[in-house]
C-alpha cells in the first residue's frame, strides 16, 4: 500500500539540514564576532535550527534573540479568541506600565519591598470586606500564584485542624477524607492525592445541575471528614453549588452527632462575580460554617495570569503549626505558601483594578459579561439546534427552555445565579433529524475559524453527555459575540449539509494535528532527552479512574 505511506516532515527536514551543514563557511554561520545590522541576520535565520534541546555554545545578540522568540510565539493562539478559558487576557495600559516598572520585584522579599507588602494587606482587607468577613473575628489571608495553591493551602489548614482536634481527643487520625462534587476542578483532587486525604466524590446529575448534590452530602460525611469543598461557579455549567443549603445540612448533622464539618468555598470564578451580581445569594462568610474562601485574581478579578487569593474567616482556623516565621534585619514575616520567590506585579494590577474600577466598575463589567452570556444562550436556544445546560439566561427558578418567555431585565438577580458561562449541546430534535452530525465537529470547525471552544463530556456520572462551552469574559465585546453567533450557525448548517463521510475525513487529520502539537510535541521533546526519542518511557500518567475529562479553567 505505497499510496498511504506516511511522510514524516521532521525526517525530511533533518535530512536536508544535514546537507546544508556540509557547506561550511557560509556567511553568518560563524559565532560571536559577527557584526549584526538586522535581527534577521544571524546564524539561526537559515542553515542552523534554533537551539531546542542543548544550551548553545555561543549566544546571539539581544535583538536577534528577541526576534527569534517573538516570531516563534506567533504560533500561539490569540488570547482573546480563546473562549475556553476563564483567565483574563486584557490588561489596561496604565496597569501594564505599573507592571513593567515593577516586574523585578519579588513578593517574598518583604524587607526590600515594604510598599508591595502594604498593597498585599490592603487587597486582603478589600477582598475580606466584599466577602463579609468580620474584622472582629480577625480574618487572615494570603496572595497565591493561583487558585490551585490557594485550594491546597485551604485543604491543608482543614486537615491540620482536624488532626489537632482528633489528637486532643485521643482519636485516630490515619484516615481523613474530604468531600467534593464529581465536577471538582483538578486542583481539588490534587489536594487529596498529595496530602493523603481520601477524596469522596459525590456523583452529579441533571437534577443537581451537574454539580454538588446537597441531598447526598449526609451519606458521605463522617467523623473523619476534614471538610467539604463547595464550588461557587462549576467549571462545567457555571452553576453555583448551594453553599447555604449545604451549610444548613451540616448544621443539622452537627446538632445530631456533634461532628463539626467546615466548608471551604472554591470561588475561583464566582468569588468576583457573586458579590457584584448576586448580592442576595448567601455563600460567603455570612455563613458561620464557611471557614475559608479562595478566588483567582486572574479570572474575574481581571488581572493577568498568576494571582490567586485565600482568606480564612479567623486566624483560629489557620493552625499555627503551619505558619513559618522568617526574621531578618529586625523584621518578621509570617509565611504560609507553597511558593516563595515570585513576581509581585499581578498584585499591583489587582490593587490598580480595585481603586480604578471600584465597586461600580466591577459591577458594570461583570453584569455586561452576564448579559452577553445571556444573549448568546438565547440565540443558541432559539435556533432550535441547541439546548443550554447553563442556566444564567433563564428566569429565576425556571429550568427549561420556554420559547414564549423572553426577559429583558438587566438585573442578574432576576435570573438563575451563576458565572458567565454558556454550556450547550445539540438538542434532542436536532440529533434525531441529523444523526450524522457529530457535536465535536462544531468545535473542530470553529477552531479553523480561530475560536477555541472545547467540546467535552460532563463529569463521570453523566459522561455520555458532551458539552460545548464558552466562557464570556470582559474582553468579549458585543461585536465579537455577534460574529460568534453567526459563525456557530454557519458551521452547524454546513455540517447539516455535509456528507457524513466527508466529515469523518475532515475530523481525522485535524485531530492528528492537535495531538501532535500538544501532548505529542511535549512527549517528543521530553523523550528526545534520550537520543532515540523513545517516548514510551514517559511516566504513565494517572488516568482518571473513570476516564473523566476535566474542564480547563
Amino acid at each position: 500500500m505505497s499510496l498511504s505511506k506516511h511522510i514524516s516532515a521532521d525526517e525530511l527536514l533533518r535530512k536536508h539540514q544535514e546537507r546544508y551543514k556540509l557547506h561550511s563557511g557560509r556567511p553568518g554561520t560563524s559565532g560571536r564576532s559577527m557584526h549584526v545590522a538586522s535581527p534577521y541576520i544571524n546564524r539561526y535565520t537559515a542553515w542552523e535550527p534554533i537551539p531546542k534541546y542543548n544550551l548553545p555554545a555561543n549566544g546571539v545578540d539581544s535583538k536577534s534573540a528577541y526576534q527569534i522568540i517573538h516570531d516563534d510565539l506567533d504560533l500561539d493562539g490569540k488570547p482573546n479568541l480563546n473562549l475556553a478559558s476563564f483567565v483574563s487576557t486584557f490588561v489596561e495600559d496604565e496597569a501594564l506600565r505599573l507592571t513593567n516598572e515593577n516586574i523585578t520585584k519579588n513578593l517574598a522579599d518583604s524587607d526590600e519591598y515594604p510598599a508591595l507588602m502594604d498593597i498585599h494587606s490592603r487587597c486582603i482587607s478589600i477582598l475580606g470586606s466584599i466577602w463579609h468577613a468580620l474584622p472582629s473575628e480577625k480574618p487572615i489571608g494570603s496572595a497565591t500564584t493561583g487558585s490551585s495553591e490557594a485550594i491546597l493551602l485551604g485543604g491543608l489548614a482543614m486537615k491540620r485542624r482536624w488532626q489537632e482536634k482528633r489528637k486532643a481527643e485521643g482519636k485516630d487520625t490515619s484516615n481523613p477524607n474530604i468531600i467534593m462534587g464529581a465536577n471538582a476542578q483538578v486542583a481539588l483532587e490534587k489536594f487529596a492525592r498529595y496530602f493523603e486525604v481520601e477524596a469522596r466524590l459525590i456523583p452529579v446529575s441533571e437534577k443537581s445541575n451537574h454539580c454538588l448534590d446537597a441531598s447526598k452530602v449526609r451519606d458521605y460525611v463522617d467523623e473523619n471528614t476534614i471538610g467539604i469543598f463547595v464550588i461557587l461557579g462549576s467549571t462545567y455549567t457555571g452553576h453555583y453549588e448551594p453553599v447555604a443549603k449545604i451549610s444548613e445540612i451540616l448544621d443539622k448533622y452537627e446538632a445530631e452527632t456533634g461532628i463539626d464539618i467546615p466548608i471551604h468555598v472554591d470561588g475561583a470564578s464566582g468569588g468576583f462575580i457573586a458579590p457584584f451580581c448576586h448580592p442576595n445569594t448567601v455563600w460567603d462568610f455570612r455563613l458561620k460554617r464557611v471557614h475559608s474562601i479562595n478566588t483567582s485574581g486572574h479570572k474575574y478579578g481581571l488581572v493577568a495570569a498568576g494571582l490567586g487569593w485565600i482568606i480564612w474567616r479567623s486566624e483560629a482556623y489557620l493552625p499555627k503549626h503551619l505558619i513559618f516565621e522568617l526574621k531578618y534585619l529586625g523584621g518578621v514575616e509570617q509565611s504560609f505558601t507553597l511558593n516563595f520567590s515570585r513576581p509581585g506585579y499581578q498584585l499591583i494590577q489587582q490593587y490598580y483594578n480595585f481603586i480604578h474600577l471600584g465597586q461600580a466598575g466591577y459591577s458594570r463589567i461583570q453584569r455586561n459579561s452576564l448579559s452577553n452570556a445571556r444573549l448568546l444562550s438565547n440565540v443558541l436556544e432559539s435556533t432550535g439546534y441547541f439546548t443550554c445546560l447553563s442556566e444564567i439566561h433563564r428566569r429565576k427558578g425556571l429550568h427549561k427552555y420556554v420559547p414564549s418567555i423572553t426577559d429583558d431585565s438587566d438585573d442578574p438577580e432576576n435570573y438563575n445565579a451563576g458565572i458567565p458561562v454558556v454550556a450547550w449541546r445539540l438538542s434532542d430534535a436536532f440529533k434525531k433529524n441529523y444523526p450524522h452530525v457529530k457535536q465535536s465537529s462544531i468545535s473542530t470547525m470553529l477552531r479553523v475559524k480561530g475560536y477555541i471552544i472545547p467540546n467535552y463530556p460532563l463529569p463521570l456520572d453523566e459522561a455520555d453527555v458532551e458539552i460545548l462551552r464558552v466562557v464570556v469574559r470582559e474582553s468579549m465585546s458585543a461585536d465579537l459575540l455577534e460574529q460568534l453567533c453567526e459563525d456557530i450557525v454557519i458551521v452547524t448548517e454546513t455540517l447539516i449539509a455535509s456528507d457524513p463521510i466527508d466529515m469523518a475525513a475532515l475530523a481525522h487529520p485535524l485531530r492528528q494535528i492537535q495531538e501532535k502539537s500538544h501532548f505529542g510535541r511535549a512527549a517528543a521533546s521530553l523523550g528526545s532527552l534520550s537520543e532515540h526519542g523513545s517516548t514510551s518511557d514517559l511516566p504513565k500518567t494517572t488516568k482518571h479512574e473513570h476516564g473523566q475529562y476535566k474542564g480547563v479553567c
Binding site: N54, L55, P56, G59, D61, S62, Y66, I68, I69, L73, L75, G77, A84, V91, T104, L107, S110, D111, E112, M117, D118, S121, T145, G146, S148, Y194, E196, S296, A305, H321, F324, L326, Y328, L329, G330, V332, E333, Q334, T337, L338, N339, F340, S341, P343, I452, E515, S517, F519, R521, L526, L529, S530, E531, H532, D537, T541, T542, K543, K550, C553
Partner: protein, 521 residues
Amino acid sequence: MVHLAQIPNEEAVSKPLVEGLEKLEIAPAEDNCFTTSVYGSKFASSDLPKYEMPEHEMPKEIAYRMIKDDLSLDGNPMLKYEKRLDRLASFVTTYMEKEVEDLMTESLSKNFIDYEEYPQSADIQNRCVSMIGRLFNAPTGAGAAAVGTSTVGSSEAIMLAVLAMKKRWQNQHRAAGKDVSNPNIVMSSAVQVCWEKAARYFEVEEKYVYCTKDRYVIDPEETVKLVDENTIGICVILGTTYTGEYEDAKAVNDLLIKNNIDTVIHIDAASGGFVAPFVVPNLEWDFRLEKVVSINTSGHKYGLVYPGVGWVVWRSPEYLPQELVFNINYLGADQSSFTLNFSKGASQVIGQYYQLIRLGKYGYRVIMSNLTRTADYLSDSLHQLGFVIMSQKGGAGLPLVAFRLDQSADKHYDEFALAHQLRERGWVVPAYTMAPHTEDLKMLRVVVREDFSKSRCDQLLTDIKLCLQVLDGMDREQIKTREQYVKQHVSNSHKARHGHHHYKNEKHSLQGKTGKTHAVC
C-alpha cells in the same frame, strides 16, 4: 548616457593602498570580545574610568548601564527616607535586557498552563527543560528518559521533589509489606525554609545534620549515618544560602554506594545550578552521580530571569511515581501535569529561553566568571580590612561573600550593628545568626549578582571602611541608640504592619527552636 563602471577584480580589491603595508603587523583584537551583554563584558569587572580619559571605547549600552547603576546610589528625592540601594541581600535577578522585557510584557496575558491555546509557549518550556537537564548531565543515552518541569520557583520544585521521594518510598515499603507511617528526610540545618515547609506539610520527619563552628555544610559521614530504612532521601545543597559553599554530593554518593545503602539524593541547586556548570565544570554534583535522582534550580537567581521561574528535573520516570502526575484530557490532547500551581503567566519561562539562547554557554560562563572574580576581589579586600571570611573563593562556592568580625579583635559592636550602620548608608547587607549548633556565630553576607560590578564593589568597600571607623568611635550606649534609630526609621520590615501577632514567636521551626535566622534567597 550611462557611465560604465568597472567591477574590480579580487586582486584589485586586496591590493594595499600604500605599497608595503601588507608587511606591517597590526595588533590582534583583544580575545575577550564578548561585549554584547553588559555584565558579561570585561567592563563589568574593571574600574570605571575615573580620572583619565580611557584609551578604548566602551559600547553605548554598557556606558549607559554603568552610569545608571552608579547613579542609583543617589537618593531619590521623591521618597521620604533615603532609599538608595537595596540589592545585596537577595539572589533574585533585578536586571534583564530591554528586548527580553518587551518579550515578557507581550506574553503577560498568556496563561502558561493552557497548552491548547499556547502550544508554542509550552514547547518553549520543553526546550528549556531539555537544555537545563542536559546542563545537569541528565542521562540521554539509549533508553534514558529524564523528565522535568518548570515551576514558580525553587520552593515549588522542592515540594514536588519531596512529594516524589515520599511516594516512591511509600510504594517500595508497601510492596515489601512494611510500615509507612514514619518517613523521614535527612538534610543540613542550613536549609532554606521551604525544606522545613515541605517536611511539615507532607508530614515527613526532619533529620538534621548540624553545622559546627568551622563547618557550615553537611558532613558526609554524619549524613549517611542518619539514614535508616524510613529515610525517603537526602537533600544536598549546591550553594548554601549562608556561606554559598557547595556541599559534597560526591562524598555522600560514594558513601551510599560503598555501604550499599538504598536511598536517593536530591540536589537543591537553587543558586548553584547555573553557576557550578560554568565556573567549575569538573565538579561532580549532578546526574553524573548515580544516587542523584532529582535536581532543582531557580531560574530567577543565577538563571538571570526576573522572579517567578524555577526548574526541577528527575533522572528517570521511575523516580516520579505515576500517581502524582495528573493527566488532563482536553480537546483530545493529553496533558500531564505535576505542579502545585495551575494557571500562571508564561513570561518568565519565555524570559528563561531568551537568556539561554541569547547568552549560550559562553555568555553564561563569562558572566559567572566575572561574578566569581568580583566576589574574590571583595573577599580579599575584606580580609585585608580584618574580617574573617567564611565563604569560599575561586569558584568553590557561589559568588557571595560571607564574613564576620574577628572575635580576637574584641570589638564592642557586633555584625548586626555594622549591618545597621551600612543600612544607614543605603546598603542592605544582611546580618544572620548561623544555623544551629554553630555557637551563635553571627555573619554578614553580600550576594554578588550580575549587576554588582567592580566599580560598585569599590563603593561598598569605601562605605564599609567608613562605617567601621564610625563604630570604632562610638561607645556601646551610642551604638544601641543608633541601632534603635535605624530599626525604626530606616529599615522597612520593622515598620511593617502586616505581621500577624497571632503567629508571632512560633516555636516549631528551626528558627523558633534555635534562633537561627533564615537567609533571604
